[in-house]
Subunit: 383 residues, 2 copies
């Protein structure tokens, strides 16, 4: 055995010992996390009894700020400590919301979900049932029983495909108790809202939950509410979403629809068209991933994600209205304008256009840069 | 004072006490993290002395698996524990890499960075200097001194805009020592590689670091290497990237360029065209963000990110070659095909196409769904 071998052997022993020490520290950390969770459970019981909100921004910021300074004095990277605590606090909010959310804002409330056997219908069935509401389902085959199903309900939630929303509202309205809240969760709002207002005399509100049935927690998820009539009588339903941790954004139905033309239809159509081009060119996706830095991986991922989901959902969103289809046509036509630029190898024009657009994007692009950089770091960390 | 007030008062006291207890636990957790970091530092010293890699996948997986089971028995969500530990391990790798990376693979090596006052040039100047290399810069105004700057160098790294790469290689070559490695870091590879092989007799390798100068750590970042000549004599340079934590992917220059047509040019062009349309329609970006679920926020963020960056970089990428511009033209033309579909409100055709594309995307879309869902959860947690 040479001196060097013996030194290597010593190093291996030392490495083993250090790793055992690290394992011991990690065990203590996980025990403390479990202990922390038990204390949070006690906090939650008080919050639940006193109807206090789960999310307490100033308490969270104070807590993070204290941990950052403690970490910094102990030689830890403060941003690392902050990220860790954002994760811990998020988990804590999710657990608190699950516990508190199981309390109904309208105790004894009866909810009818129309289209309750669809994916979103089943999702809300579970949420309302967990919260202690009595939930009834009216699906395609239940119309013969509509009178009984509607008797004594406090709210009817229309959860059917866009193109069936208006006829279903008209079909349901005659059975509704006058005081019941009529609400739909379709992703366009102006047209169903006007149909609901015509069909039902009582409280009316349009809702658009900006999340899908695979969302594990409603924490911080946005629900757009477009008021129709008797907003005060709809308030308990909005409060229920807030109790689940959602953020309720009240907006005009027409403004909502214009925004969705962009953030849903245009974005999804662009992803669809991109995926379609990759398919037509028969690009070797697997191999492109080898050459993919996190940012491209994420961008391809956003496209791939679309094609893992329900085609009819995207079809409905893209073809929802003539206004929407016209916007998409304008988008395609605007791409045409770039053909000349590419043909002529006109870099100057590209730079000039880029400059104008960048100026117009303004502070949003800096924010986007910060947010996506954060996200890319998370991607690297995970995959 | 009523009974209820007094009860509320008791609750407030209890809440305060519970919060103090949680603060105490958090203080212990942060102390343990600092202690953990000190132990890791000791591990790093051994790894550095023995040239052991920072990333030890099986050790990390074992560690995570133990913490998951411990967490689960203690009533914690195992996925939460795993996320937390992925973050801790990533931070640990970054710190280890910083410490180990400051060791040169070729001790006493002299590196010439041509274009060293550009952003990427300065980035690599810092990395190599930190690692203990002697770094020299040859920029526009230094050509009169080229002979002296090239004397005794072990590698020349060409870090200039794409359209200047080939002429600069030709201009530099006569000054290079025969044994020096000639490498470029341009984002296209076939053409510079052939020019390098013609201009220089010694070791030649094309490099494409798939990251920008704002990257805080090279951890897990990909560097594509396209071998030219005398690969064994270029190995130390590749090993240096590996020592910094990068993943070196060896590929054929032509294949690299084809892949980049897609993952860089097409993707960036699509984002550019999308941002340009938002600009032309003068969409109220601020307001769309209010209506934005994390997924749309992320998609808009990817577009906004582009416009926060250097226009000339994107201009170069998009206009890099005729082949590339032709691909982009095909992309624009393929969008035209959708006009009819939208005009005719042809949902059936949309569903049929969607189905074919989804089938072709196959397992990639499931992977994309998993990855982007993970990312979206991180976005919610953070913003």
């Amino acid at each position: 055995m040479t001196v060097s071998d013996s030194k290597n052997g010593d190093d291996s022993d030392r490495l083993e010992k250090l790793r055992a020490a690290i394992d011991g520290i990690d065990e203590q950390i996980v025990s403390l996390l479990a202990k922390r969770q038990r204390e949070v459970k006690r906090v939650t019981e008080i919050k639940k009894a006193r109807n206090l909100p789960v999310y307490h921004p100033s308490r969270e910021e104070d807590l993070i700020s204290s941990r950052r300074s403690q970490g910094a004095s102990a030689g830890l990277e403060p941003c690392f400590v902050e990220e860790l605590y954002r994760l811990i606090l998020r988990q804590s909010r999710v657990e608190q919301t699950q516990r508190i959310g199981s309390k109904a804002v309208l105790p004894g409330g009866v909810i009818l979900i129309v289209g309750g056997r669809g994916e979103m219908g089943r999702y809300f069935e579970s949420r309302f049932a967990e919260a202690g509401y009595q939930v009834r389902i009216l699906d395609k085959s239940d119309w013969h029983d509509a009178r009984r199903l509607c008797a004594g309900i406090h709210a009817a939630l229309i959860s059917v495909p866009i193109d069936q929303t208006n006829p279903i509202i008209a079909q349901l309205a005659p059975y509704l108790p006058k005081g019941a809240v009529l609400a739909d969760i379709t992703s366009i709002k102006a047209s169903p809202l006007s149909v609901m207002l015509k069909a039902h005399e009582g409280p009316v509100i349009g809702l658009h939950p900006l999340f899908g049935p695979t969302t594990s927690s409603l924490d911080k998820q946005i629900v757009v509410a477009t008021p129709g009539r008797h907003l005060a009588e709809c308030q308990w339903l909005l409060d229920q979403f807030t109790a689940w941790g959602s953020v309720v954004l009240t907006a005009d139905a027409r403004e909502h629809d214009e925004m969705m033309d962009i953030v849903q239809a245009l974005r999804h159509f662009a992803s669809f068209a991109f995926g379609r081009f990759l398919y037509r060119k028969k690009i070797n996706l697997e191999r492109t991933l080898d050459f993919t830095s996190p940012i491209y991986r994420l961008e391809l991922g956003m496209v791939g994600r679309l094609f893992a989901q329900d085609p009819s959902l995207y079809c409905e969103i893209i073809f929802a209205s003539k206004q929407r289809r016209d916007l998409l046509k304008q988008y395609i036509q605007s791409l045409q304008d770039s053909l000349d630029m590419l043909q002529a190898n006109d870099k100057e024009r590209f730079l000039e256009e880029f400059g104008k657009i960048a100026e117009w994007f303004g502070p949003f692009s800096d924010q986007a840069m910060r947010e996506t950089t954060f996200i890319i770091d998370r991607l690297i960390e995970r995959f």
